[in-house]
Amino acid sequence: MSTPLLSLEDVSVRFPVGGRRHVTAVDGVSLELCEGETLGLIGESGSGKSTVARAAMGLVPISGGTVRWRGEDVSGFGAKERRGFSQAVQMVFQDPHSALDPRRTILQSVREPLDVMKRGERQDREQIAVKALEDVGLSTQMLSRYPHQLSGGQKQRANIARALVTNPQVLVCDESVAALDVALQAEILNLLQDLKAEYELTVLFISHDLSVVGYVADRISVMYLGNIVENATTESLVGRSLHPYSEALLSAQPLVHDSSAERRIVLKGDIPSPVSPPPGCRFNTRCQFAQEGCREEKPALLPVLPGHSSACLRVEELYGERRGKGAA
């Protein structure tokens, strides 16, 4: 396995919610993003996946754990290293419209990262921005337009171009296609695949849509209520999920040729509030296999098969695999 470019070790993020109470949006999450791969992070709304991305980018302060860039703790970075880090890790946001300043032209917005980093001459920056816009398939007549004059797909292309001008190594895509219609989603996903090859990118792809993540990701981490519950290669996860929550997610995926109705596992109720998470396994309130023990002991994320970890106490009974077996 190659060295991790960006890694999160036991990262927690807590937000104050008035008084002395806190929401633990992300609770002890560890992730490793290896050079050249696409890691998919999936979970339903409120599972903390966007907060993980923001913590990795340094956009929200972390209350525990460490974020490492090429093995070095990001919190210890000086101004110069910090700049190098923000140049190397770029983000594409969910809503293509609000991510662009309505009073700036597309060219101004796309050029902005270079302006902030004061790279080279203005002329050169402009050329880099124009090249990035060409790479994402926006014609030069779009340069002087304002965001409201572009379609959703064009805006998301501009956002991607802005993330590319600094020539980053890591691209964090936070629900980057969720606001687009299905045909456009496919277009943007293919564009991201092409750009990944062209710019030699490593991608952290966050989505709630398993079909989208399954299409782009090499590995997938499944999040539930601030925890990672399963971690595996895409093939292994889709082919043989080892966690009841992932199973439920997989069963919700509509199939074209097969009737998905009978194998569908419908989760009851909403995701519990992270202000007062349930004791024991976070998923026990909605899990069809939950037992007494699940309400007491919180399962750790342990390897079950090689490269496949699951955080379920009953993994052996349910899936016939022993916890800890895959540990090298």
């Binding site: 980018m57 956009l59 910090r82 700049r83 923000s86 140049q87 770029q90 983000m91 946001f93 969910q94 809503d95 609000s98 991510a99 662009l100 300043d101 309505p102 009073r103 700036r104 917005s109 902005e112 990262p113 902030v116 980093m117 304002y146 409201h148 004059q149 956002n159 802005r162 600094t166």
Partner: protein, 284 residues
């Protein structure tokens, strides 16, 4: 046969009426501007020359708007007074913007203690009725148009401040601000000048236009109470005050400054609406 007016027709009519009031407002403001610049050239007489043989004359060829109680030409006094009134209003609005805009942006952008302290001061200022505070300040500092309009400016500043604060707070949570932070943008120039100011300026300009009207009325009120412009200097408020005293001898004269104030305030208000329409980024 009944005439059916469709909604589209009503909307068109309304839009035409809207356009007309805009053109009328532009015309009024253009006249005001010309008078401010060329008052000395246009005026038929010197504004302060007295002629006690010809007091309180009605409108005539020699004195198109008549003469006041000291025999001064009312038209000339109105023209010169326009300059004083408009500059006084501009002074008050400028002070309001200079105080309100940076403090409002700072409070909205920084939040926390800065916001708490600024807003408590604003609450204190706002708890005084505007004119009363201005009267209080001029009463202690001595009646003088500069002091009076500075006081008005201070009193008007919370309206700019609160607007700038609210707009900044709304912008602060926009994704494009987060995006800018994600590639390392920070600092006053990068964040506030590039992203915040252009996005909040539209409602601020509207507010400035509205405040111009308000400041004109404030000048007239203070001068009417003889706390603003001091004799023999002329202003709309001063002319109004003088004509009020002799209302029974020359009843027409009070309408002249009154109409000038009303028309100009109206024009500034329409201008405010028009700025809003013109600066909408969706129109570009």
């Amino acid at each position: 046969m009944t005439v059916v007016t469709t909604r589209a027709q009503t909307a068109t009519t309304r839009r035409r009426a809207g356009r007309l009031s805009v053109w009328v407002s532009y015309a009024i403001l253009a006249v005001v501007l010309i008078v401010v610049v060329f008052a000395g050239v246009i005026a038929p007489h010197a504004p302060n020359t007295q002629d006690l043989d010809r007091i309180l004359l009605p409108m005539s060829g020699a004195h198109p708007l008549g003469t006041d109680d000291l025999g001064r030409d009312v038209l000339s006094r109105m023209l010169h007074g326009t300059r004083v009134s408009v500059l006084a209003a501009l002074l008050a609005v400028a002070i309001a913007v200079v105080i309100g805009l940076p403090l409002g942006i700072a409070a909205g952008w920084l939040g926390g203690w800065t916001d708490a302290i600024v807003m408590r001061i604003v609450d204190a200022v706002m708890s005084f009725p505007a004119i009363v505070l201005a009267i209080g300040i001029t009463a202690t500092m001595g009646p003088n148009i500069i002091t009076a309009m500075t006081a008005v400016g201070i009193v008007l500043s919370p309206s700019i401040l609160r607007l700038a604060r609210a707009q900044t707070m709304a912008i602060r949570s926009e994704t494009y601000i987060e995006a800018a932070k994600s590639f390392g943008a920070r600092g006053l120039r990068r964040m506030v000048v590039t992203h915040v100011v252009p996005n909040i300026i539209q409602p601020i300009l509207v507010q400035i236009a509205v405040l111009m009207g308000f400041a004109l009325i404030a000048e007239a009120s203070l001068s009417f109470l003889q706390l603003g412009v001091q004799p023999p200097t002329s202003s709309w408020g001063a002319v109004l005050s003088r004509s009020y005293t002799f209302l029974d001898q020359a009843p027409m004269q009070i309408f002249i400054p009154g109409l000038a104030i009303a028309a100009t305030v109206f024009a500034f208000n329409i201008l405010g609406d028009e700025i809003q329409r013109l600066l909408d980024p969706k129109r570009k």
